[in-house]
Amino acid sequence: MAGPAYIADPPDAVRAVELDGLTALFHRPSGMTHILAAPAPQILAALAAKAGDAEAILARIGERFEIEAEDPAAAIAARLAELEAAGLVRRA
């Protein structure tokens, strides 16, 4: 289930603030603000300045979290599509 590899901007390209369970993220390259719900912040952290495909992302997130999903591959693919449309990740 590899799929394409993605990469996110390095941590210093964003500024994040926690707002009761959600993350308000200011993205410096675009000047845009996004409100993120889990697992979007975790995916961004897993891809910050280091490329990875869906498998690598799951492995990286799995180091710190107990992953819960019926179909992890489909869920990650859906999240990546959203993040790519918002310009927060791009094809590596």
Binding site: A37, A45, A75, A86
Partner: protein, 136 residues
């Protein structure tokens, strides 16, 4: 502004490693990214391109009375939701007292116009309406 219903509490784990917790990846159809859009900026470019859903999606199914209020389906004197969003240009004509949008009878059109006039910040279509109107 839609947010997935089935997302778990993310805590601060996204940016600082802490204890091992459960992370739900969400259903494929859920939404976890919402981008803040300008409220009244870029009006010039978007004024003819914006749309107003009637009613806004979170009130889907409700009818609109002559004064533009949302009412229960089937309320006497009210009109069913419009099956499609109105385009900025149609709204402009409608609010200026011009012809009704295609396929809409004139009484329903007036109710929809009143609904649009009552739109408030945060509601779907407000930005469009705001861009067609002056503040205040």
């Amino acid at each position: 502004m839609t947010m997935g219903d089935d997302v778990n509490e993310p805590g601060s784990e996204g940016f600082a490693p802490t204890r091992r917790v459960v992370l739900a990846l969400g259903a494929a159809a859920a939404s976890t990214v919402v981008t803040i859009r300008p409220a009244l900026a870029s009006t010039a470019g978007s004024v003819l391109n914006c749309e107003i859903p009637i009613p806004e999606p979170r009130s889907a199914g409700q009818y609109i009375d002559a004064a533009g209020n949302l009412v229960a389906p089937g309320t006497p004197g009210s009109f069913p939701p419009l099956g499609r969003p109105l385009k900025g240009e149609e709204v402009k004509k409608l609010l200026a007292g011009g012809p009704s949008p295609a396929g809409v009878d004139s009484q329903a059109a007036q109710a929809y116009a009143n609904y649009i006039r009552r739109l408030q910040a945060g509601m779907s279509g407000f930005t469009c309406y705001a861009s067609l109107q002056m503040p205040r």
